[in-house]
């Protein structure tokens, strides 16, 4: 309660300096892509977050109008260029088996809904797998091709393709069952302070979302929009690479993309967005 009061005082002070939210995005705007895919960018928080948040919000809501508009039309969304590249590799036969993704899975649209449930428990492997790990399992075991580097372009492009066909579907990551211990490890990381600045994920994205971090609005750190096209580096960015950037900014040594820690963190952070729509490739600053 005390924390909430402090936040509202900060918000009032900011409003009086900058005028009535001049720098803020339109709070009531709704995201509809290509005039047809309706995206849920704000909804009730999933049950496991009931102590921390009432509502979960997509990062789209925290961005400026012009950035928001770029995501409303695939032609204006630069991330869609890499989706096309991903589609090229979807149908390209590779490896010793001479098979493409399409040979087993059919059209990319057949994969609608897959992105929404990852990371998830894989019974055969006895581990929680991210979508990229599953892609590489296909590549090495079924195609006889080389695994893609974690968060490297080919993997990100494919992830963007699979996200794009699931757009509008709710994130639905299972947090119970055999994957629960991984999920709990991810939660532990989320609330663990790191680095010289002694910040946890929650310090910014739970306690201070909506406030300014230098010239930018802090979001809730939701990952329903990944892979994300960022205006700052003009390319698609993977979740693990983004985690790395955040942890680096706390002035800590970071984990590597694809590490067990980041897999657990991805699972936990994804589950914080259960109920929001998949919107990747999203556009952010």
């Amino acid at each position: 309660m005390k924390k909430q009061m402090r936040n509202s005082i900060v918000a009032i002070a900011a409003a009086s300096i900058f005028g009535a939210g001049a720098a803020m995005a339109d709070e009531e705007a709704e995201l509809v892509i290509n005039g047809e895919i309706e995206i849920v960018t704000k909804t009730a928080a999933p049950a496991h977050l009931s102590d921390a948040l009432d509502e979960v919000m997509s990062g789209w809501r925290f961005r400026a109008d012009l950035t928001q508009e770029m995501q409303m039309d695939d032609f204006d969304n630069p991330g869609m260029l890499w989706v096309e590249t991903g589609l090229d590799s979807w149908v390209a036969a590779e490896g010793t088996e001479g098979k493409s993704c399409a040979d087993c899975h059919g059209a990319a649209e057949e994969m609608a809904g897959v992105k929404a449930v990852y990371p998830k428990w894989n019974e055969d492997a006895g581990e929680v797998r991210t979508l990229q790990m599953q892609m590489n399992d296909c590549r090495t075991n079924r195609m006889g091709a080389e695994a893609w580097g974690y968060d490297k372009s080919p993997a990100i492009n494919m992830e963007a393709l699979l996200a794009s066909v699931s757009r509008g579907m709710p994130v639905n990551v299972a947090i119970d069952g055999p994957g629960q211990s991984t999920w709990e490890a991810g939660r532990e990381l989320y609330y663990t302070r790191t680095g010289q600045l002694d910040l946890s994920c929650a310090s910014c994205h739970e306690a201070n979302y909506g406030n300014m971090i230098r010239a930018d609005h802090l979001s809730q750190g939701q990952i329903n929009g990944f892979p994300t096209y960022r205006l700052k580096n003009t390319k698609l960015n993977g979740v693990h690479s983004r985690f790395k950037g955040c942890i680096r900014d706390t002035r800590a040594h970071t984990y590597s993309p694809g590490s067990a820690e980041f897999i657990a963190l991805e699972m936990y952070v994804a589950s914080r967005g259960n109920g929001l729509s998949i919107e990747g490739p999203s556009v952010r600053n």
Partner: protein
């Protein structure tokens, strides 16, 4: 042909006669400026799209000269007045002599 070049255009399918329509075009192209050097210090030769045109039923809508400071994947958005049904023809001219063309037709309702 420079690799990975793919033109994209967005034209409304229909318009009323006399309407002003917005056209959007984007071509994926690396637009190598000719100013950069590779790891060994050698100049990377210039390779850009140097001209972009759009015609409507043979009449020029826009004719653009592109210079080397224009970024990767050049994007153009512009308006045209549609007086009758017809075809928009978009043409990009590459430094290496290649020409990329796309045509989109528009109906008048």
């Amino acid at each position: 042909m420079a690799s990975g070049v793919k033109p994209r255009v967005k034209v409304p399918k229909t318009a009323a006669a006399g309407d002003t329509v917005t056209l959007k075009t984007l071509i994926s192209h690396k637009m190598e400026s000719g100013q950069r050097k590779d790891g060994d210090g050698n100049l990377i030769p210039r390779s850009i799209i140097n001209r972009f045109t759009c015609d409507f039923n043979g009449k020029s809508v826009i004719d653009v000269t592109l210079e080397s400071a224009i970024s990767t994947n050049p994007y153009f958005e512009f308006d045209a007045i549609v007086d009758a049904a017809g075809d928009f023809k978009f043409t990009w001219y590459d430094d290496d002599g290649d020409v990329y063309e796309t045509t989109k037709s528009i109906k008048v309702a």
